[in-house]
Amino acid sequence: MTWIAIGHIDDIPVRGARCVKTPEGKIAVFRTAENEVFAIDDHCPHKGGPLSEGIVHGKAVTCPLHNWVISLESGEALGADEGSVRTISVRNEDGKLSISLESAVLAAAE
């Protein structure tokens, strides 16, 4: 696993998200009202909606396409829906954010 710097927490609006592009697709990085940061694939398990565009509430996001609610912590769909999305580890050091990606992904891309 490799930690890769992606930017500063202030780049993300409170209760908002930004995307990080990777060879494997977009990763959505979320900032909650409590300034916690989570990263998950930007791809709703239901029909692939861009989760980074959803409304963030508590530690969850509501997908903008069909209102599935996804836990930012576990990546699991909440409520009656079933499905999950990959979670990615995020490190927050004084606001500087980095995410951990498989070295293989990065190596393959190089």
């Binding site: 890769i4 710097a5 992606i6 930017g7 780049d11 993300i12 609006p13 409170v14 209760r15 908002g16 930004r18 995307c19 990080v20 592009k21 990777t22 060879p23 494997e24 977009k26 990085v29 009202a33 409590e34 029909k47 692939g48 909606g49 861009p50 565009e53 959803g54 409304i55 963030v56 509430h57 508590g58 509501t62 903008p64 396409l65 209102n67 609610v69 995410i99 990606l101 992904v105 990065l106 891309a109 190089e110």
Partner: protein, 816 residues
């Protein structure tokens, strides 16, 4: 031949008496009412919510004009009776109307007591008694200056809270050492004072007013101790006095009030008196429950049943100030033969005191937690021996019998004669039997048939529990569906409380209304954001993170995560240069699909989010602004070609459509709003399935609304015909504003109109020019802040982060 019944006064007591009488003996009397107040019968105990802004006058009317017409009752509004001629059996009004009677009912109520102070007649000194007083206070409150309320009783505190809600700096002067000393003991009075002061209201107890100061108008109040308190408004709320002058002149027996027997008969057998002007058993009454009891007795006697007699019973006192819970009942003075049980919880702000004599409750004061009030009242009324449960009595009904009861079980355990609604004196058995007897399933139905919870509404929860108990699963409390899982409040309550409590941010709403989640959810946040934008257009800062993605990035999200962009094309009219610009943008950004929409605009589909600002920049150069095709706002005004081209066209429908669109674009609404203007009844713009439609006719403009062609298909309702374009524009803007202020978020106009009634909308925005103008003005005011093109804002750099990835990682640098 019907007997003649004349009623002097049209307050709550005679209103209720008539309801009973019409039920028991509908054809016995020809009824004539003289009312000194120039209006119909309204719920006087709800004046405080009107003052504080939680209700409107229309919402507190008990019997509208139609009710009198439907029952063949003659109502003289604004007629004060000046003489009763008992020998001739006639009454005469100040307008010279003389009416004869077989039976006469005097219900002249009471007048506010005015302290005989110097300066009492200065302009700016008001009482608190009727709607005129409330209107005068509301007018005075616009100044946002200082107000003084003399009197720290029930009325005075309600007036003070209302004036404070309206933005005045309020001081309450009270002559006794603690507030509401007639209903509360000193400890509860102290807690009440703290709660009042927490609302920013100053309280001065032991305040002896010496004089009201001022030359031409009120400037302040001087106390006996020399203190001078400046103010531009002084409200006297020190008590009421029965209005007995008329009865006295007629030679009836008078004491403090008009003396009546248990059957409400005065010293003249053909004349009854009831309400605040009547004195029965040596008592006069000001609370509504005993007055309604008088109404019931009087009606029975008039209907020919002389058995019922008025019996005194204590009525609980409650304060109608949002957020302050107090309950007081009976006698709570100290005494050698009395014991008391007291519970204090300072941190929770709870105080409970029971006064007990011979193992029976004789008085109760509850502050902060009043849920057990009705139970204590029931024990007191029945004179139940409480010695068995003395240890746990103060904790309330839930702690009796070992196992704590849930609220439902507590209601189930109440006996049939337990009083549920204190205002209207309705007991459990009556509610249950009416629900089953009449097959009622809604709260409104129960209110209509039993009156329970129809007055102050404090017992609404209890009534709903009774409905749930009686109906089981058949009871669907749809009327109070919460907004979402984050709150128990429904949309209407939230909207009302945002206004009443002047809540101006989402965190303030969540804090004050006790949201159950830390920052809401995807259902409530966009709704709250809209309500706040609508209510405080100049003060509220839009919260982008509470907007659905479409409104955050000003384009429509599509299934593949790309966006579609619709520029505004006013009234559906375009030009070669606009079309050329669109064609250039399509080429340059390789936009895969271009489509003409149902609303006569051009849709460019399949645009990548990153490209949006550049697309908008290009479109902006050609003069386009956002078509808001993504918005819960005004989207399109569709038109036909109208009189300029069409051989049938009666008016310039294209011109009017453009005018409406230019006037109204940018406005946020609870749900999308689509409009259309057709130049003749052939209706080529399909105006009769729009949220608002106009059909031009020779004589003017027929305005339609509440159509739909979406999930539901529904033709419009006709609002009415206006003569000029200017009138059409004013009516449409007023209608839209009424909808903006009243609808629940995501509720389309047709659903809102169904809920409030087409007639009501027509009455407010077409028939009432003042109201229409007020709605129109509020719409215009909010447009000052709303009519900003979001595309040009983004092109100039606002919210840049939205359209760029935060980072790109893992790509081979050379490959990029």
């Amino acid at each position: 031949m019907a007997e003649k019944l004349v009623i002097i006064g049209n307050g709550m007591a005679p209103g209720r008496m008539l309801e009973h009488l019409l039920e028991q003996a509908p054809d016995r009397y020809q009824v004539t009412i003289f009312n000194a107040e120039p209006r119909v019968n309204y719920d006087r105990i709800m004046l405080s919510p009107v003052l504080s802004g939680e209700k409107t006058y229309e919402q507190i009317v008990i019997h509208g004009d139609g009710w009198y017409i439907a029952h063949g009752i003659t109502l003289y509004k604004g007629h004060k009776i000046v003489a009763i001629d008992r020998a001739a059996k006639t009454v005469t009004s100040d307008h010279g109307v003389t009416e004869s009677y077989d039976k006469l009912v005097i219900a002249t109520g009471s007048v506010p007591f005015i302290l005989p102070l110097p300066g009492k007649e200065l302009p700016g000194v008001l009482t608190y008694r009727d709607l005129d007083d409330v209107n005068a206070m509301l007018l005075a409150a616009q100044s946002r200056e200082k107000a003084i309320v003399i009197g720290g009783g029930l009325l005075g505190l309600e007036a003070a809270a209302g004036l404070a809600e309206r933005g005045m700096d309020v001081t309450v002067l009270h002559v006794m050492p603690t507030l509401m000393e007639r209903q509360l003991d000193p400890a509860a009075g102290y807690l009440l004072q703290k709660a009042v002061e927490e609302r920013g209201i100053k309280v001065i107890c032991k305040a002896n007013t010496k004089a009201i100061l001022g030359e031409d108008k009120v400037e302040g109040v001087e106390l006996e101790d020399g203190r001078v308190i400046p103010a531009t408004l002084v409200v006297m709320a020190v008590g009421i006095r029965p209005s007995v002058g008329l009865a006295k002149d007629a030679g009836l027996a008078i004491n403090r009030g008009i003396v009546v027997d248990g059957g409400m008969r005065t010293s003249d057998g053909n004349i009854l008196a009831l309400g605040e002007c009547a004195e029965v058993g040596g008592m006069v009454y000001g609370l509504v429950a005993p007055l309604y009891e008088m109404a019931r007795v009087a009606a029975a006697h008039l209907a020919g049943d002389s058995t019922p007699a008025f019996v005194h019973s204590d009525t609980p006192t409650k304060l109608k100030v949002t957020g302050i819970d107090l309950y007081s009942l009976g006698d709570f003075a100290d005494g050698d033969d009395r014991e008391e049980i007291v519970l204090r919880d300072a941190s929770a702000g709870v105080y409970k005191r029971l006064v007990i004599k011979d193992d029976r409750i004789i008085g109760t004061v509850l502050y902060g937690d009043t849920g057990d009030g009705p139970w204590f009242n029931d024990l007191k009324k029945k004179g139940s021996d409480i010695s068995e449960m003395r240890e746990t009595l103060i904790f309330g009904q839930a702690y009796q019998g070992g196992v704590p009861l849930d609220p439902m079980a507590a209601v189930a355990a109440l006996p049939d004669d337990a009083e549920i609604c204190g205002c209207n004196g309705v007991c459990k058995g009556k509610i249950v039997s009416t629900i089953t007897g009449k097959g009622l399933t809604t709260l409104d139905g129960v209110r209509a048939h039993t009156k329970a919870s129809a007055s102050c509404g404090n017992c609404t929860g209890l009534v709903e529990q009774l409905m749930a108990l009686t109906l089981g699963d058949a009871y669907n409390p749809a009327a109070v569906t919460p907004m979402c899982g984050c709150t128990d409040f429904g949309h209407d309550d939230v909207r009302r409380l945002i206004k009443a409590k002047k809540l101006k941010t989402i965190p303030a709403v969540m804090q004050e209304l006790e949201w159950k989640t830390s920052c809401g959810c995807a259902k409530c946040r966009p709704a709250l954001n809209y309500y706040l934008v609508c209510d405080w257009p100049d003060e509220y800062a839009d919260d982008y993170q509470s907007r659905f993605v479409n409104e955050r990035v000003h384009a429509n999200i599509q299934k593949d995560g790309t966006y579609s962009v619709v520029p505004r094309m006013w009234g559906g009219v375009t030009s070669s240069s606009e079309l050329r610009a669109i064609a250039d943008v399509v080429d340059r950004f390789e936009i895969p699909m271009v489509k003409v929409t149902g609303g006569q605009r051009i849709d460019m589909l399949g645009i990548k989010k990153e490209d949006l600002p550049a697309v908008w920049a290009e479109l902006g150069k050609a003069g386009f602004v956002s078509g808001q095709a993504y918005a819960k706002g005004l989207r399109t005004v569709k038109t036909c070609v109208g009189s300029d081209w069409c051989r049938f066209g009666t008016q310039d429908s294209t011109g009017l459509g453009i005018r409406i669109e230019k006037f109204m674009w940018g406005s946020w609404t609870p749900a999308k709003v689509k409009m259309a203007v057709s130049g003749c009844p052939r209706n080529c713009a399909e105006a009769t399935c729009k949220d608002v439609g106009v059909i031009c006719v020779d004589s003017g403009f027929e305005i339609h609304f509440a159509g739909a062609a979406g999930l539901d298909i529904k033709g419009t309702e006709v609002l009415g015909l206006v003569r000029t374009e200017d009138e059409a524009l004013e009516v449409i803007a007023a209608l839209t504003q009424m909808y903006r202020e009243q609808a629940r978020y995501l509720e389309r106009i047709y659903k809102w109109a169904k809920r409030v009634g087409v007639d009501e909308v027509r009455r407010q925005v077409l028939d009432d020019p003042d109201k229409r103008r007020a709605y129109f003005d509020r719409f215009v005011f909010s447009q000052k802040f709303a009519q900003v093109d979001p595309w040009s804002e983004r092109v100039s750099g606002k919210d840049k982060h939205e359209f760029r990835p935060m980072a790109s990682v893992g790509f081979n640098a050379a490959a990029e």
